[in-house]
Symmetry: C2
Subunit: 553 residues, 2 copies
Amino acid sequence: MSHPLFEQHRPTLERAVEALRTRGFWSPYPEVGSPKNYGETAAEEGRVAFEALLGKRFDLGQPGETGTVAPEHSPFGKTLDVSYPVNEPRALLDAAIAASPAWRKLGPDGRAGVLLEVLARLNRHSFEIAHAVSLTTGQSFAMAFQAGGPHAQDRGLEAVAMAWRETTAVVGEAVWEKPQGKNPPIVMHKHFEVVGRGIALVIGCSTFPTWNTYPGLFASLATGNPVIVKPHPNAILPAAISVRIVREVLAENGLPPDLCTLCVSTDPAVTQRLATDHAVRTIDFTGSNAFGQWLAEHARQARLYAEMAGVNVVAIESTDAYAAMMRNLAFTLSLYSGQMCTTTQAILVPADGIDTPEGRIPFEQVAEDLGAAISKLLADPAMACGVLGAIQSEATLRRIDDAPNWGRVVLASRSIVNPDFPTAAVRTPVLLACEAASEGAWMEERFGPISFVVKVHDAAHLASLAERVVNEKGAITLGLYSTKPEVVDAMIEASLRAGVALSINLTGNVYVNQSAGFSDFHATGANPSANASYTDAAFVTDRFRVVQRRQHA
Amino acid sequence: MSHPLFEQHRPTLERAVEALRTRGFWSPYPEVGSPKNYGETAAEEGRVAFEALLGKRFDLGQPGETGTVAPEHSPFGKTLDVSYPVNEPRALLDAAIAASPAWRKLGPDGRAGVLLEVLARLNRHSFEIAHAVSLTTGQSFAMAFQAGGPHAQDRGLEAVAMAWRETTAVVGEAVWEKPQGKNPPIVMHKHFEVVGRGIALVIGCSTFPTWNTYPGLFASLATGNPVIVKPHPNAILPAAISVRIVREVLAENGLPPDLCTLCVSTDPAVTQRLATDHAVRTIDFTGSNAFGQWLAEHARQARLYAEMAGVNVVAIESTDAYAAMMRNLAFTLSLYSGQMCTTTQAILVPADGIDTPEGRIPFEQVAEDLGAAISKLLADPAMACGVLGAIQSEATLRRIDDAPNWGRVVLASRSIVNPDFPTAAVRTPVLLACEAASEGAWMEERFGPISFVVKVHDAAHLASLAERVVNEKGAITLGLYSTKPEVVDAMIEASLRAGVALSINLTGNVYVNQSAGFSDFHATGANPSANASYTDAAFVTDRFRVVQRRQHA
């Protein structure tokens, strides 16, 4: 008997599976938070719901509670003062194990139905979640709505759809009938059951607490695993709201809510203890190389999906739309103050300049013009605040201050006052110029609004240098500007060898640092920046096993 | 333009993909080596082709040759004296890297076509390969034909079909068109290209040099990777014939033969150097826990698919076909002298005996009757030689000699003379009885024809003990005999929790130690005996990445 939520959401699920194959534009979750899309009252209701959370205890009804913490400090300076339950990790693990059989028995269809209901409900909470994302991460509200709401939901649905495709690719039962010549055939009845690998742990990051959490969360749940979400201590609220909704939908459907729990802690030892527990078999992690490598070294009982640091590159050889190219790059470098794992850090430009319709433009001028484009984009303070958001961490503020040590300053960072949040740390990007040989400067990740225009010997070196950066340091994004087919072809080959997504000649409203759910794969898993991709088949197929049984018919 | 080999083999490929889904009986490669199936002259031609290899140099035309070795000693005592080229590992690695782009550019369809031609040609060489498998491993010729020929080819085709399904699940090109309200849509052209992870290394074992090698070999090739095959030093010839055929088909199709090379060495340091090379990104390994763990520890740059030791269990609670059960078990314990990773080692029997149509049979009697069933099966020396083959290694002979130290001998091992191979070491199984508490005896892998009838406290402990063995020691197979639904249900739940395939009440010509391509998954990947399965989606999806590029339309 089919699960009612599966029947209800089946059209969306099947359309999502088709989108994963055809990879055209599609989303069931509107990215524009207009009254037409979300209803006349949604924005205000979301704001009120969010405000009602502040200064209060956030209850989840999880087992093993030992106290509460309220560690979040908003980059916008707003007082949040939400206190979260702290739970004994062992209690969360034990509850997850106890809850597992019911989830396994629900089967792929039932799990997909329940999770699509979760996603639909997350979508209805998009405004509330957007406020939580914005105020914990420093993203502007508009960006937090898109990236933390519908775009994150897209990534969650992608994971559910891919998991459903793969877990239903094998029949549940089969009759195996082997001919025996003139004798009767041997007939066996066989059952094939999808079994999750075990408890999954999702370790969130400080900048994209839903977008980088939903893929692992939904992939692990959809493949039959219980999930413990360990949010970054400064971006708990978006995860807490999300986990609460998952638990509500589970409970409403007669399933144990402890299939999905939140583990709040400010002590890295707690995360380490969880990550190395024998029962934890899958870990999704977004964060620093240091902790990613610690996990790879110590959490050997688990399969690790890790997204870490990288040095994203754009190479400019020539363009037929110089001003549009500069506008496009300026936006990429400025959006959320460059605090994205996809933001370009190194812009490679030949020492003898680039070809444009206005003639050859020297290296120095390219750097100056990019600085000017950034200044122009951010000239209006209100516009600037909307693009930049706020600086999320003290470490990033320090890096901005230190940046002049790493190259010649083409454009200095400025402070901007956000009238809505006067104490917020708002900074414009710093743009540096340096020689390609200064690899210690530009070829280390400088997370935040810090970019380098790198002087490369000549155009023939662009592809090989970009390839080496991706191979050695990792990159999620690679961009190229060139009007010459042979230059484009060389960079395509470099991108295939190095294993990095390539954006060619972006001049319109598509940016190298943005990826679209159901169409663009986020990260490839083929270079050091990430060992997995949102969402290819490899992201889901190792989260479950098929366990069979057979007997004579 | 479609590849002619793809068009030629497409019906087989599509039927294989369908078989992987529906998991009924199917194979394109007849397991019976009759003249009707293989032609009147095939058997004799295969024998002649095999004999022609003996005492000669086996040329492959690979780069970096530094000398030759002839390390194989046949368990049947026959002189092989085939000398193989030894190649500088660096030369093989460099050649593989140089060959890669042509293989990538061929695309999933072309690769599948070429590999199905390889498999068709391997099938035509089944007799030659069977002689090579038999004389290097000690398998009887009949078994070597089936397991080393068509059944191994099934496992290879499975891998190609699964890889083709997964690599073609994403379109190669897409138009992404995002509506912009009243403005024209944003239109992007996108390309999605399947890229292998890098060089794959397949480390073969001494007992199943084709059956355990083909899955990794074909999975890695089909997903776009070059492969280096490192056979066990005592079972090189079957791998060498196979690699030569792969190279021939590649060359005939204008592709670089060094996409598939053979690395022969008797020095483990060579394997270790290969396995830890930065360019090696995938390793398939069948063998000991010690080397498997070494690989997991040291070859961290590669994804490892490992099949290692385990303790396979059969639990007997009751049966409605006592004699048939005993015959079935006797054959399982005797086939290839138990030198299979799937052979039952521990037979759990309640202390107070089992229910049968003949009444309750005490523990001791069950053990005796199993011993008697083995004796009966092997009473005729010719029949015994056909079932047992020869003991492959000195270590297994020593274990047989040591076996009486580990329990009470119910049935002692006997030597049998094989008139065709008078110096072959042919041994019947040794059957021991012991208490469940003697875990140091029966709960360690005793590879070879050594089994234990284990006295378990009562029937209620069977499932929990079996589950613990699988969890702690690993198992590829689990069997149960019971007529009681509640006992069967408890064992099914145990098998799902522990992650092991369960065979229930096998009494006919299906044995717990045998798995059928396209229907039975070999290993689950969910317990310590193996971290992967032949062939589920997880076996192929992490061998490639999708690398995309996009630009404005």
